[in-house]
């Protein structure tokens, strides 16, 4: 690479989070190290060396870029496309707050601060495994439905894919999303506080179709969904959910599931905590009562006052979070910033999102960007003219049932916030300092 070429390379963002520059709407406040300036083609090393310039400063004369004066890479005969090498820092990351002693029963989080639109790229969908990721050959994978049925049946993947299918947009969230940050600040970024969250278009076959085929015996009320991984992860699912909207999913985001998301087959329970959507699904057993397995007694339960635990808390309640600006980002001086984030509800559609800039004393309504879909991520936007003073920003979502996203204090008055606490849907504030630094302000 010649020196000249080097000076024209876009500058790396360095720390993945220090790039809020791209949120600034006024050209002059954008540092050339930002993605936005890279995309605008105006980045030069000279501009990068200066601090944020004023709107009146003239841009340097343009030079023809190397990409215009050379041939690009060839079209490979076959191959799977990958993101630009300049996006290499956009990755899902294991939690660095709650570090498991091993990484087979473990999780990794979606960089939602980098997500554009409502669809999470497949390679960034959050992960939660209980015994690592199996690589299952679809030609050897079967689903069995048995138990309280008239005729137990076995379905190969090609059997299942021969059915007509349905495609639906839904979010998926782990019940443990946010568990590190209830009463004290532990995480720096929204990836760590809210990254057990993804959204895509899921494709598969309604569970109810196959239950009709096997024929339910009188008294059938619960189904066991069980995986073919080394943990044989399993959950009891009420029959009503299965008949209502549960899917047997083989594809997401336009392609077959990724191994880490359940290839070749998973259950999908719209709006419910992620682990009920059992991955690598091999078996559905029909019964008259739930199983009360370790995964629904000792795990995925919520501590309650007086030493109790709440069980079968499957629905993910209405929630929202500001993703831009969020923890670890740096505002580049006063002016216009678009506050962006996600809102969602496991009980229906998002009906409104409110924004506070003063730590909850006053609220104003944000714009919801369509499509606003049932149990799906909804993007909200709010134009904020930052005056350069300290601010505390947060979002509050309402859903179609009338439920209002509560504060942590309101949740803590009902539940016991002690230890490993699931189902954190509390309002989540970020502090903006006078120097533009954005930090976690949950406590």
């Amino acid at each position: 690479m010649t020196d000249k070429q080097k000076t024209l390379q876009p500058i790396s963002r360095g720390s993945p989070e220090k790039y809020t520059e791209r949120m600034a709407l006024e050209e002059g406040t954008i540092k050339s190290s930002s993605r936005r300036s890279f995309l605008s083609g105006a980045a030069t090393a000279a501009a990068a060396a200066t601090v944020a310039s004023t709107t009146s400063a003239l841009a340097a004369p343009l030079e023809v870029q190397p990409s215009s004066k050379s041939m690009g890479r060839t079209t490979v005969p076959t191959g799977y496309g990958m993101p630009s090498k300049y996006e290499a820092d956009v990755t899902r990351n294991r939690t660095d707050i709650f570090v498991n002693k091993q990484n087979f029963s473990d999780w990794s989080m979606t960089p939602i601060q980098h997500q554009q639109g409502i669809v999470t790229p497949n390679g960034l969908m959050f992960e939660r495994h209980h015994a690592g990721i199996p690589d299952i050959d679809p030609d050897t994978h079967d689903l069995v439905i048995h138990g309280m049925v008239r005729q137990p049946m076995k379905y190969s993947m090609s059997d299942l894919m021969r059915y007509p299918s349905v495609s639906r947009f839904h979010f998926m969230e782990c019940s443990g999303n946010g568990l590190t940050d209830w009463l004290s600040v532990k995480s720096d970024t929204v990836q760590q506080t809210h990254g057990l969250l993804s959204c895509t278009q899921w494709t598969g076959v309604p569970v109810s179709w196959l239950l009709d085929e096997v024929g339910l015996e009188a008294g059938a009320k619960w189904l066991l969904f069980e995986g073919a991984d080394g943990s044989a992860h399993a959950r009891s699912i009420p029959l009503d959910k299965a008949m209502d909207d549960a899917l047997l999913v083989f594809a997401a985001g336009g392609e077959m599931l990724r191994p880490e998301n359940g290839y070749p087959l998973r259950g999908f329970m719209p709006g419910w905590e992620g682990n009920t959507s059992v991955k690598w699904l091999r078996r559905i057993k029909v019964s008259d009562q739930p199983w009360h397995l370790r995964s629904e007694t000792a795990r995925y339960t919520d501590p309650m006052p007086e030493g109790k635990w709440r069980q079968f808390s499957m629905e993910m309640e209405c929630k929202s979070v500001i993703t831009n600006p969020s923890g670890g980002m740096q505002l580049q001086g006063p002016g216009l910033y678009e506050i962006q984030g996600f809102a969602w509800s496991g009980r229906g559609k998002v009906s409104s999102v409110d924004i506070t800039l003063d730590g909850g004393k006053s609220w104003r309504t944000a714009d919801l960007e369509g499509p606003v879909m049932d149990r799906c991520l909804t993007r909200f936007r709010y134009r904020w003219n930052w005056d350069g003073g300290p601010a505390k920003i947060a979002s509050r979502a309402l859903d179609s049932t009338g439920y209002v996203q509560p504060t942590v204090a309101e949740l803590a008055s009902e539940r016991a916030i002690v230890g490993f606490v699931q189902h954190h849907n509390g309002i989540f504030p970020w502090a903006v300092s006078a120097s533009g630094e954005v930090t976690n302000a949950i406590a």
């Binding site: 021969r162 069980e226 109790k308």
Partner: protein, 192 residues
């Protein structure tokens, strides 16, 4: 195996609805699966309905046998006497801790029904070789871990009946989902 397609309950009703607005998302009158007998599902049929013990297989094991198996196959990750090891914390004690600021979750303190331990070991442990233990071995390991938790005697022998009969300290520790609980109000001005 006979490859007959079973009759579909309600198939006619669904067929009649074709052509309606929702035709494309209603159940098609087809069946592409293959019938299978419960006997042929046996190798996968590992679940235990833990409140009743339904699904617990024949077989038995002692805590002493369990200790031997544990020291050979589990101790590397779970530590001596299941007191905590390289991969996982203690599996002993914790009863009474749920009313303190530090709840200690173990099979003894947390499981409401004793067969949960059998079900979990059988489906998921040892983590390096799940579903490799015989039913007798799983009973033995279950007896050993419950003996360490002082829920059965050190010379206990567990089988389907005796395991289901153990009374667990956290039997009544659960509330079924009763949310929404927090009732927040949408305040816009002069809040808090």
């Amino acid at each position: 195996m006979q490859l007959h397609k079973i009759a579909i309950a309600g198939g006619l009703a669904f067929a009649l609805s074709l052509g309606g607005a929702l035709a494309n998302s209603s159940k098609p009158a087809v069946s592409f699966g293959t019938p299978i007998t419960e006997a042929d599902v046996a190798a996968w049929d590992i679940d235990v309905q833990t409140p009743t013990g339904k699904g617990l297989p024949a077989g038995s094991g002692t805590a002493a046998q369990g200790k031997e198996l544990f020291d050979a196959q589990c101790v590397a990750c779970h530590g001596a006497d299941a007191g905590g090891g390289s991969q996982y914390g203690s599996m002993v004690g914790g009863v009474g801790s749920f009313v303190t600021e530090k709840r200690r979750l173990t099979p003894g303190s947390m499981y409401p029904y004793a067969p949960i331990l059998f079900d979990y070991i059988k489906r998921a442990m040892p983590m390096t070789a799940p579903q490799s233990l015989s039913n007798d071995e799983v009973y033995a390991l279950t007896a050993y871990i419950y003996a360490l938790n002082e829920l059965v005697a050190e010379d206990a022998v567990l089988d389907a009946a005796s395991l289901a009969a153990i009374e667990m300290p956290n039997r009544d520790g659960f509330i079924v989902d009763d949310r929404p609980d927090a009732a927040a109000v949408r305040c816009m001005d002069d809040c808090e």
